[in-house]
């Protein structure tokens, strides 16, 4: 089942912060985050594993709450290069949990 992302779209000025949320209806083992710029392939940002570890990638960090089956992506001091569509991909555990099911994405636009 497809995870739900919010917001669907957000516009930021350079230097502002944003949070993108991802909720799943199934028990999760890990959450992947990817960014896709217009006309390009999705690019891997980070993976969060069960355990609530918060990870970072430059000024982009994320958290994972497996009890709530939610993950959040935090973008601080946004840069023009952060523009794109962000996808979360929760992954369950157990046999057959090989696929990554992506949400509809959150379109982030950073303006000067």
């Amino acid at each position: 089942q497809q995870p739900v992302q919010s917001p669907q779209a957000v516009i930021l000025r350079e230097g502002e912060d944003a949070v993108i949320n991802c909720s799943s209806s199934k028990a999760l083992y890990s959450v992947h985050w990817y960014r896709q710029k217009h006309g390009e392939a999705p690019v891997f940002l980070m993976i969060l594993l069960k355990g609530g570890e918060q990870k970072g990638h430059d000024k982009i960090s994320a958290s994972f709450n497996e009890k709530k089956q939610q993950s959040s992506l935090y973008l601080t001091a946004s840069q023009l290069s952060y523009s794109g569509t962000y996808f979360c991909g929760p992954k369950g555990s157990g046999a057959g949990s090989y696929q990554l099911t992506f949400g509809k994405g959150t379109k982030l636009s950073v303006i000067p």
Binding site: H32, E40, F44, Y98, F102
Partner: protein, 115 residues
């Protein structure tokens, strides 16, 4: 280090025809997943190949089939094309031994247009 390569980049087909898309995974990767991405939507999982077998399949009809070769490259075949099959088809490779924390590396995709 070559990344994931897909061919062709663009393709125009007529309804009812058949199409084959090709993918070479990133060097060192042994698992290939195929995704369909409609305009404005997230990638939808079609299937995954590992050790030359289809390991998991998403909610796609049997018209969609695939193959993985001994060198880990893969093909996606779509028969009896429908207008609704028009989309960007993405291939993603990964390393199986750490499947839960192995990131996907995507190719640039094949843009299929069905007329």
């Amino acid at each position: 280090d070559a990344g994931v390569t897909q061919s062709p980049t663009h393709l125009i087909k007529t309804r009812g025809q058949q199409v084959t898309l090709r993918c070479s995974p990133k060097s060192g990767h042994d698992t290939v997943s195929w995704y369909q991405q409609a305009l404005g939507q997230g990638p939808q999982f079609i299937f995954q190949y590992y050790e030359e077998e289809e390991r998991q399949r998403g909610n796609f009809p049997d018209r969609f089939s695939g193959h993985q070769f001994p060198n880990y490259s893969s093909e996606l075949n779509v028969n009896a094309l429908l207008l609704g099959d028009s989309a960007l088809y993405l291939c993603a490779s990964s390393l199986d031994r750490s499947s839960y924390n192995s990131p996907l590396h995507f190719g640039n995709g094949t843009r299929l247009t069905v007329t």
